[in-house]
């Protein structure tokens, strides 16, 4: 039995022999690089027209041009501003209301059912209403984003608070923690893993809603840049926009994960 397992392992190793000649940190890059090479070849050979799928090098060239002309900076700065404002307002309110409903039974009974009901409404179905009420200006965009950013933080904060170990409450009672100490030194640290998860989800949704909001009507922003480029068949610019979103999404997610690493060092969990 064990001999058989060993035998299997050996054949696996010989199959992966070529992999070992490549340094380990580069393993994750193998597939993307292969795809890029094929993609470039397909475009160069004009198997697919450039208006549908421009070559990676053409996209890169466009990328550089947009940076040099300052065009990209203009769009990116307004997009980041909208997303961050919306995120801060939405996540901030979510954290606050999550704390209030989590800590207070009365607030839970009066607020939570309504909020839960609102959560089931698909956010994007509200767009027409928002345009009717607030027009297509900044206010309506930021409001949309904050609404999207609100729920993940709200729900996870509430959940985190309700998951605090009741036995630790008994300890805090024995040591006469004040109400404030109870919140600051027991409840929030204990709920922090959930809160951070909520923030991560919320950041992701902020970007999503931002793109939709900018595509529904704007005169600047990366979403607008994509929409505008599509109208002029500038597929390379569309790709630049997508790449920008990917990069920023990854960047902000890594930021929160860095916080998780620092703040949740104490956790003893399965690490794969």
């Amino acid at each position: 039995m064990s001999g058989q397992v060993l035998g299997d392992k050996r054949t696996n190793l010989s199959q992966e022999g070529w992999l070992r000649s490549i340094p380990k940190p580069l393993h994750a890059w193998l597939l993307p690089v292969a795809i890029l090479i094929v993609w470039e070849a397909v475009s160069r050979l004009e198997l697919i027209p450039a208006t549908m799928l421009p070559a990676p090098t053409a996209i890169l060239k466009q990328f550089v041009e947009l940076i040099v002309s300052g065009e990209l900076y203009k769009h990116l700065s307004i997009s980041v501003y909208r997303a961050m404002m919306g995120f801060l307002i939405g996540a901030g309110t979510g954290l606050l209301l999550g704390l209030v409903t989590g800590l207070n039974k009365l607030a839970e009974k009066t607020l939570d059912p309504s909020l839960q009901m609102m959560w089931t409404i698909p956010l994007l179905s509200l767009i027409p209403l928002f345009i009717l009420w607030f027009g297509v200006g900044e206010f309506s965009k930021i409001l949309m984003i904050s609404l999207g950013a609100f729920f993940p933080v709200y729900m996870n904060t509430f959940l985190g608070i309700r998951n605090v170990d009741v036995r630790l409450f008994e300890v805090a009672r024995m040591f006469q923690y004040s109400r404030l100490q109870l919140i600051a030194k027991l409840i929030i640290p204990s709920a922090l893993p959930n809160i951070l998860l909520g923030i991560r989800l919320s950041l992701g949704i902020s970007w999503l809603v931002l793109v939709v909001a900018e595509m529904m009507g704007a005169s600047a922003g990366v979403g607008y840049m994509i929409q505008d480029a599509r109208a002029y068949m500038r597929t390379d610019v569309v790709f630049v926009g997508i790449i920008i979103f990917a990069l920023i999404g990854k960047l902000s997610d890594s930021g929160v994960r860095l916080l998780e690493k620092r703040w949740l060092r104490w956790r003893d969990t399965f690490k794969g």
């Binding site: 036995r167 008994e170 300890v171 006469q176 030194k185 640290p189 204990s190 104490w266």
Partner: protein, 260 residues
């Protein structure tokens, strides 16, 4: 008058449930002198943990008198240190911060006392460790230090070493005696381990279930440090055990026998 830290008189505690009332404690009377180390022993269901919770102020639904330094118990407070069966440390705090709890380590007095206690429970070098990095015995020592930080009038221990292996348990019993001899903290120690009860106590309170009451209180007049293998120790152990056999005889035919 000799200073009685804890006075319990005519204490009754009944749990009401739809299935009927259960008398957990019936007419308990006990006086604990300042600096005394008392162990409470009895089979499960004898109410020993309930008694401890009442003294801690975690359970106030009783009738009778419970006085700590002549004052009735009013809820949990720092005068009563409580050590649970599990360490119950805050997992996001280091050892030293767990001990400090809601007091600030920036306060030089707190800092000095925490360092002193870390040395007392023999955890030097682990100040900055997180609970997940500690063994069960070490974690329980942190919880002892945490309870001692506020110099409680009485330290209540609810089967604190019950979940530990025999070697760790013996070690922690010695640590606890060492602390007791240095600090002379009044201690009420609940256990279901016969050896532990005799090894630690100046007096052993033997409790009997259905309804929970005190069967007898046995003084253990052995000098510290005690030798478990000594004849006098074994004799006292047998004496305590014989009290149990008397206690449990009528119950055996009804359901589970003594778990001792």
């Amino acid at each position: 008058m000799a200073a009685d830290t804890l006075v319990i008189e005519r204490l009754n505690r009944t749990f009401t449930s739809p299935a009927g009332d259960v008398t957990a404690l019936s007419n308990i009377a006990l006086k604990v002198k300042k600096g005394e180390l008392i162990t409470l022993i009895g089979p499960s269901g004898c109410g020993k943990s309930t008694l401890l919770k009442i003294v801690a102020g975690l359970d106030s639904d009783y009738s009778g008198t419970v006085l700590l330094n002549d004052k009735p118990i009013e809820g949990p407070s720092i005068e009563k240190g409580f050590i649970f069966q599990e360490p119950r440390l805050f997992p996001w705090l280091t050892v030293e911060k767990n001990i400090a709890g809601n007091l600030s380590l920036k306060d030089s007095k707190v800092r000095a006392r925490v360092d002193e206690l870390i040395a007392l429970v023999r955890l030097k070098g682990f100040e900055k460790s997180y609970p997940r990095e500690l063994s069960g015995g070490m974690a329980q020592r942190v919880s002892i230090a945490r309870a001692l930080l506020r110099n409680p009038e009485v330290l209540l221990l609810d089967e604190p070493f019950g979940a530990l292996d025999a070697f760790t348990r013996a070690h922690l019993q010695e640590v606890l005696l060492d602390i007791w001899q240095k600090n002379r903290t009044t201690m009420l120690f609940v256990t279901h381990d016969l050896d532990e009860a005799v090894f630690l106590a100046e007096r052993v309170v033997i409790m009997n279930p259905r309804p929970g009451h005190i069967r007898t209180v046995l003084p253990i007049d052995l000098p510290f440090p005690r030798k478990r293998a000594s004849q006098s120790f074994q004799e006292l152990r047998r004496k305590v055990l014989s009290e149990f056999e008397k206690v449990e005889e009528p119950a055996v035919d009804r359901d589970h026998g003594a778990g001792i």
